[in-house]
């Protein structure tokens, strides 16, 4: 008797077509990933920069650490906020796989909450008790946050690998740590970590270049831009090597599936790889980013585009991994189009309101008695 470990498709069905939810899953996951990268890569980069600066805030690398954490104070909140939506849609489309994966590593999955809370408050402690507020120190907080965020990333990669491979469940039920032996675990994890570092470094370079060109602390900003730009370079080099490793480490069927998918799967994948190499070429061609602001902006744009494409590839790889274990057409569809439109309209209105709010705030600076 071979018991079927994959739970039944939820009888309640889907309140809309499969493609709509797939689209929303991929879209919101991309949004989430933007902030994940800033949080994960940014905190790690901040911790290293802080250490290189020997904990001093007056060292350019210390300033950089402070800036990265300045972004993260908001970035972590937005990571959580944007994470809610893909968490919702993955439970909707892949509930049988996702819940099972989280249950199989239940303790780890649960401790993610604890790590997140501690990591978040550690970032605040660094901000208010460390170098940004007092001139020096706080490295312990920063490293605590960086390490915890890295562990969270590893947990997410584990859940992802487990949920895609129902064949591994029975073995994992006895020994969940075995997921670390998955040959793609390390390269997949590094793929995310390096992307995070690259994006964070890219954003701070862009910002420093902008400031330097506006004449704000040109020396300091020039140094920071230089330093961060090197990070972009090395992260990109390693990323390409790691991408190759990951591709080779994929199970043979998955790699073949990716190729057999034709344009639909090879298209995005090829473009993504090309863009990745493109980033490297752009960065390598320019040694002083302050002199080439347009190039810096273009590189940032390309980085974002690469991520977006790779998110699509990632989703396709999931489908190939799952193969015949999943059949989304089994869902009974009871579309609620009215609710979809309500959601879509509210989303547009909500984002427009956020945009309007931020514009107003930027346009109405005030000081002293006039200020709020």
């Amino acid at each position: 008797m071979t018991p079927d470990l994959i739970p039944a498709v939820d009888a309640a069905g889907l309140p809309g077509p499969v493609w709509l939810f797939q689209f929303l899953l991929v879209l919101t996951f991309f949004l989430h990933l933007l902030f994940v990268n800033l949080t994960l890569g940014g905190t790690l980069m901040a911790a290293i920069s802080h250490t290189l600066a020997r904990g001093r805030a007056d060292d350019p690398r210390g300033v950089l650490a402070g800036r990265l954490i300045g972004i993260n104070g908001y970035g972590i909140s937005l990571t959580i906020t944007t994470g809610v939506a893909p968490l919702l849609f993955i439970q909707l489309l892949y509930h049988q796989f996702f819940y099972t994966a989280t249950i199989l590593i239940g303790w780890m999955w649960l401790s993610l909450l604890l790590f997140l809370t501690v990591g978040y408050y550690a970032v605040y402690l660094y901000k208010f008790k460390g170098a940004p507020a007092r001139g020096r120190g706080g490295g312990v907080w920063l490293w605590t946050a960086a390490i915890l965020f890295m562990v969270i990333g590893a947990i997410q990669v584990a859940v992802n690998l487990i949920h895609m491979q129902p064949g591994s469940w029975e073995a994992l039920a006895g020994n969940p740590w075995a997921i670390l032996n998955d040959p793609t675990f390390v390269p997949r994890y590094l793929h995310f970590l390096l992307a995070g570092v690259a994006l964070s470094a890219m954003v701070v370079t862009w910002w420093a270049v902008r400031q330097a060109r506006q004449g704000i602390d040109p020396d300091l900003n020039g140094t920071i831009a230089h330093f961060a730009w090197k990070w972009v370079l090395w992260a990109s080099v390693l990323q390409i090597a790691d991408g190759l490793w990951l591709t080779m480490a994929l199970p043979k069927d998955v790699l073949l599936g990716l190729m057999r998918g034709g344009g639909a799967t090879m298209g995005p994948f090829t473009v993504g790889v090309f863009f990745g190499i493109g980033i490297l070429v752009m960065v390598a061609r320019c040694s002083d980013p302050v002199t080439r602001p347009a190039l810096v902006t273009a590189t940032l744009g390309t980085t974002l585009a690469t991520m977006a494409i790779m998110v699509v590839t990632r989703d396709q790889v999931r489908s190939i991994y799952m193969g015949s274990s999943v059949d989304l057409s089994q869902f009974v569809i009871r579309a609620q189009w009215g609710n979809f439109w309500l959601f879509a309209i509210l989303l547009v209105l909500g984002l427009a309101t956020v945009y309007y709010m931020i514009r107003r705030v930027l346009n109405e600076p005030a000081e002293g008695a006039d200020a709020a």
């Binding site: 309640a12 909140s77 968490l87 029975e170 200020a371």
Partner: protein, 510 residues
């Protein structure tokens, strides 16, 4: 019920409470605080009252740190825990109400971004722009509450949804509006209770500000009271009878209800006395704490009452807390649990104790632990209890032991009658096997009752709320499975009825 089981000795319910209770308090604080802070700042600007503005500012710092960080993480935490302890149930909710959650997410984005901006722009932008951000925060926060409340109330009173399965029938269910009002009142109470502390810190205006906060607290309490009464009136007759009337079906729930109402009365009276009449008393910390505790107690009490009245369902009359769908009862009874889920047989079918342990985990562990909270060992008759009843040593202790350990299942007989049926103490000690058989027989009989209970659900009119009072165990779902499943579970439970055995088994969760 066809997911693997996450082993958790403490019990999933306990873990959920640990995550959910602080979350709902913080979440309501975030909503009410949004309103109070926006109003306070606006009044401060209109009346040119720096004290009020200072109060808004100081409260907002707490609000942000607590609600954007802790509130958001614990909110995700509820999902994480629910997915671990009752995946089938949470999946069903999500598949029915995903658009509701998607809409809530939009409000959540607005709430979080506005909170971060509000916090970061004190002393930096114009007053008007800052007030606008504050009000947008409130819109976002209140919007999430209004949406999520539709889903929560649907779980208790699905109303017409049971017939139509239509989104809006479930959303605007009978208790939707009353619960919205009630939660609005609660949000004001929570916010006032928290803001009391920054308000009382102000040296010059302390008294005035405390009175101001007191006004909010009293208003929140009154709104909560109206909301509560209305909510109670909108519960179905059969649900109300669980805790109301001459002889409520569930005494513990009736006690929770009176606790809830007394706590609300206490919050109101304490609020009037300490905050409105002698606001200076707040300088001493204790009165403030008392007000806060009363407000929390009321809110906690009501949440318990709500959850308790919904038991054993997660979605009333549709889905049980352990993930069993009413519509699956017959299928599982005839085909058996092993055919229903592969996880019931992972690890082999040779050892009936192991199979029974898995059946227990799949069906009972959502509510019962082995030795902790709502311990199954305590619910079952044990060798020691049997012995205590027969031995009756010292005299009189047997009757007490009967009341404590047997009466709940043997309502028709009393101690004397029971002893007549039972073997003597010496006989038991000599032949424990015989007692084991007797105990396993009792467990088997109980499980059969629990399985028969399912028929009532199968036969019931699926388009109206089921009356749980009519069943033998109003707080429990029926047992489902074929005879082999039942026998395996009884065998496993039988091992728990002997001294020493329970400790071994509690530890053996692997």
């Amino acid at each position: 019920m066809d997911y693997p089981i996450w082993d958790f000795a403490m019990g999933g319910g306990m873990l959920m409470a640990l995550v959910a209770v602080p979350h709902v308090i913080v979440a309501h604080f975030a909503v009410g605080g949004g309103l109070l802070i926006a109003v306070t700042e606006t009044l401060g600007v209109r009346r040119n009252d720096p004290e009020l503005r200072e109060l808004a500012k100081r409260s907002s710092l707490v609000l942000i740190l607590v609600s954007t960080v802790y509130g958001a993480i614990s909110g995700v935490g509820i999902w994480v825990v629910a997915g671990l302890i009752s995946p089938g149930a949470i999946s069903s909710l999500i598949h029915n109400y995903v658009w509701g959650w998607a809409i809530e997410w939009v409000f959540f984005i607005l709430e979080i971004v506005a909170a971060l901006v509000y916090y970061g722009t004190w002393d930096k932008i114009s007053k008007k722009a800052h007030m606008l951000v504050g009000w947008l925060y409130f819109v976002g926060a209140y919007g999430s509450l209004v949406v999520i409340n539709g889903i929560i109330t649907y779980q208790l009173t699905p109303g017409k949804w049971l017939e139509s399965h239509a989104f809006w029938d479930g959303f605007f269910n009978p208790t939707y509006w009353p619960a919205t009002l009630l939660r609005t009142g609660v949000a004001l109470m929570m916010a006032a209770a928290f803001m009391l502390f920054p308000a009382s810190k102000s040296r010059e205006a302390g008294t005035r500000l405390v009175r101001y906060i007191g006004g909010w607290l009293v208003a929140g309490s009154l709104i909560s009271y109206v909301g509560y009464r209305w909510w109670e009136a909108q519960l179905g007759e059969t649900t109300r009878a669980l805790f109301l009337g001459e002889s409520p079906t569930l005494a513990s729930l009736a006690a929770t209800r009176s606790f809830t109402l007394w706590a609300l009365a206490a919050a109101l009276v304490l609020g009037i006395v300490f905050l409105l009449i002698v606001p200076r008393s707040i300088k001493a910390i204790v009165p403030g704490i008392l007000v806060m505790v009363a407000a929390f107690a009321f809110f906690g009490g009501w949440e318990r009452l709500r959850e308790g009245s919904r038991k054993p369902f997660l979605i009333h009359s549709h889905l049980f807390s352990n993930g069993l769908l009413v519509e699956d009862i017959e299928r599982i009874n005839s085909a058996g649990l092993q055919a229903y889920t592969g996880w019931a047989s992972t690890g082999g079918l040779d050892d009936p104790i192991e199979v029974g342990r898995r059946v227990f985990k799949i069906q009972c562990a959502a509510c019962h632990t082995l030795g902790g909270y709502r311990s199954i060992t305590e619910a079952l008759p044990t060798f020691q209890e049997m012995l205590a009843v027969t031995a009756n040593d010292p005299p009189g202790s047997g009757a007490a032991a009967f009341e404590a350990g047997c009466a709940s299942c043997h309502r028709d007989s009393n101690f004397e009658e029971m002893v007549e049926f039972m073997p003597g103490a010496d006989e038991m000690k000599e032949d424990p096997e015989m007692v084991t058989d007797l105990l396993v027989g009792m467990i088997t009989g109980t499980l059969e009752q629990l399985r028969d209970m399912g028929q009532a659900y199968v036969d019931a009119d699926r388009s109206v709320q089921f009356d749980t009072q009519t069943t033998a165990y109003p707080m429990m779902p029926p047992f489902v499975g074929n005879d082999e499943d039942l026998e395996a579970l009884a065998t496993f439970l039988g091992t728990l009825t002997h001294d020493g055995a329970s400790t071994v088994l509690t530890g053996g969760g692997e």
